[in-house]
């Protein structure tokens, strides 16, 4: 799969063009960050050296919603911490809107707004004060901060809970309040680390329509960290798939899916267990690498004609009696991820 790494920066956005192509908002070149190995201590095993960013190159264009997808520990958060000036890379360059953030990390806060995974700095504030204070610390006057606070709270439908402390809210509401703090004091680039974790569908929709409005009205660029493949498919313009600190692919969701266009996913759910005594079912299992078993749920990645034969086999006779449910689907980003050689699927969420 090494050849797919080349797609991380498509030909028309190579470093050669970047200087006079104002279209690239965020350019990352050869980024390396290594966490030193830790020796074993009492109660803690030794940790080997981790290459959290291992030669990452990316180019994010203006007005794009660009995703970083990968399982837990793939190096997504480490990458965005280097983009936001919170962490200094060991090697490589980060440029946002033409500013070198490795040399001037303090400029990051004046170019972009960052939503981290932690809210502990805001937990004991009310939603209203958290948003207003963040606006003021982003350089707004008191009057501007209050006006923007009211607009943002209204936009995200947070006004009814504006007077509640963040830590008294549910996880999804708290996350939405933190997202509101990103929107005050407008920035041309938004870096969002798993913004919709724990949110209900209504809150998610509020987030994505707020992002869309900023993109349509002001050309905002969004860099989004996610491990949610469904969300990645629906909201992202382009996605970089990360694993072990490397970009293993980078394209539009549709472009990535074209890699595995010749595959169809068949999901079978057996009533109790798979009837392996039925020859057709046993034969399916023999298909090898394309079959993934998880209890009474089987996932098969097959060529279209194989898939057709498989469905025919399980929807007739003895196999059908043992079958609870089945689905036939075109490939998702998860299939792409697997096809790219992503060894671990546990970190990816399908909800």
């Amino acid at each position: 799969m090494t050849e797919t790494a080349g797609t991380a920066s498509a030909p028309h956005e190579g470093p050669r063009d970047r200087g006079h192509d104002g279209d690239v908002v965020c350019a990352v070149e050869g980024l390396v960050k290594v966490y030193a190995a830790a020796r074993a201590r009492r109660g803690a095993p030794a940790v080997p050296e981790v290459r959290a960013s291992d030669g990452i190159s990316l180019a994010v264009r203006r007005g794009e919603i660009f995703g970083l997808l990968g399982p837990n520990g793939a190096g997504k958060t480490t990458l965005v911490r280097q983009l936001t000036g919170l962490m200094r890379p060991d090697a490589g360059s980060v440029s946002v809107l033409g500013h070198d953030l490795v040399r001037h990390p303090e400029r990051a806060s004046r170019l972009l707004a960052y939503l981290g995974q932690e809210s502990s700095a805001l937990d004991e504030l009310t939603v209203s004060l958290a948003v207003e204070t963040t606006g003021r610390l982003r350089g707004l006057t008191l009057k501007q901060a209050r006006a923007e606070r009211d607009d943002v709270l209204e936009e995200l439908a947070l006004t009814p809970i504006a007077g509640k402390a963040l830590k008294k809210l549910s996880g999804g509401q708290r996350r939405l309040a933190c997202f509101a703090t990103v929107l005050v004091g407008e920035r041309p680039v938004l870096v969002l680390d798993e913004p919709t974790t724990g949110m209900d569908p209504v809150a998610r929709r509020a987030v994505w329509s707020a992002v869309d409005r900023r993109r349509a009205d002001r050309g905002a660029t969004v860099l989004l960290v996610t491990h949610n493949v469904i969300e990645a498919e629906t909201v992202l313009d382009r996605v970089a798939v990360l694993e072990h600190g490397k970009v293993i692919a980078c394209d539009t969701p549709a472009g990535l899916k074209a890699h595995v266009a010749d595959e169809v996913r068949v999901e079978l759910v057996w009533r109790e267990r798979a009837p392996l005594d039925v020859p057709e079912v046993a034969a399916l299992r023999e298909l090898g690498a394309g079959v993934q078993e998880s209890g009474r749920r089987w996932t098969l990645r097959l060529a279209p004609d194989e898939a057709r034969a498989a469905v025919a086999a399980v929807t007739s006779g003895a196999a059908f009696a043992a079958l609870d449910d089945f689905t036939l689907a075109t490939p998702s980003l998860e299939d792409v991820y697997l096809a790219l050689g992503g060894g671990r699927t546990e970190g990816l969420v399908k909800a």
Partner: protein, 274 residues
């Protein structure tokens, strides 16, 4: 000045600089020092309503309790003044040193500093805003403790107004120390431990009468910034206080405050970018 330097490099150099400046996106203005200090202060003060009020009660009851205990031990005079002054300043040490060290220790460990670090706010605003708010939390407890102490030990209340200087200056010294400890401690548990130790030192060295302490402990007492707040306050129970000595003591508090807040600001910068 920098423009002149660029011109001196030559035409090619300045042209290159100009294109780079044109290509680069506009930087949003950074937040200025005083408005962001005010914003942080206000936000921190509002946390008191949610999280701090029970702890403020604890701080006050602790000091009042100590005074009641000591009433059976000391018999008026200089010792009684030291007990009342020490117990009052102990409230400041509890909140500004101990609680602030814990707050910054936990904020740093949980990644909460990222929020401030990704906003264009001067580090000194964050540190001073939090330190100022914690010092303010101590005002009611310190006043109540000093008032009850005067009644218990029959001391004059005429000069209690000096607390208006003692609380902010001792508060600056102790809050600066607390913030620095919290931000420098590699683990939040260690920040908590250091904060507790600092408060215990302020308790033992500030409240107990000095005449009975061994020499070594007396030196340790001189190293503790809260001591100077205690002494300044204790001196004002005289009918004609030595105001020059009070001023010197308070100046030491102010000096320690400036240094420790500067260290805390440096520690914040260091903790924010890892």
């Amino acid at each position: 000045m920098s423009a002149g330097a660029i011109e001196a490099v030559g035409t090619t150099g300045s042209a290159a600089v100009r294109t780079e400046a044109e290509a680069a996106g506009e930087l949003a203005p950074a937040a200025r020092f005083l408005p962001s200090l005010a914003a942080v202060y206000r936000a921190q003060l509002s946390r008191a309503r949610v999280a701090r009020i029970p702890l403020l009660f604890v701080a006050t009851f602790q000091s009042v309790g100590i005074m009641i205990l000591m009433r059976g031990v000391v018999d008026g005079g200089g010792e009684a003044r030291a007990v009342v002054a020490g117990s009052s300043v102990l409230v400041v040490a509890f909140v500004a040193l101990n609680l602030l060290a814990q707050y910054f220790g936990q904020l740093r460990a949980s990644g909460g500093l990222d929020h401030y670090a990704t906003l264009p706010v001067p580090p000194a605003s964050v540190v001073l805003g939090a330190a100022g708010a914690y010092a303010s939390f101590t005002v009611p407890g310190t006043l109540v403790t000093a008032g009850i102490g005067c009644v218990l030990f029959d001391l004059p209340m005429g000069h209690l107004w000096v607390l208006a200087a003692v609380i902010p200056l001792a508060g600056a010294a102790l809050a600066g120390l607390g913030a620095a400890l919290g931000l420098l401690a590699p683990k939040p548990e260690l920040a908590t431990l250091l904060g507790q130790l600092g408060m215990s030192a302020a308790l033992l060295l500030g409240v107990l009468p000095t005449e009975r302490m061994p020499l070594l402990i007396q030196y340790a007492r001189d190293l503790l910034p809260s001591t100077y707040g205690v002494e300044a306050f204790a001196r004002t129970f005289d009918v004609h206080p030595d105001w020059a000595a009070v001023g010197v003591d308070l100046a030491v508090c102010a000096g320690v405050g400036v240094v420790s807040l500067a260290v805390a600001t440096w520690a914040y910068r260091r903790a924010a970018v890892r």
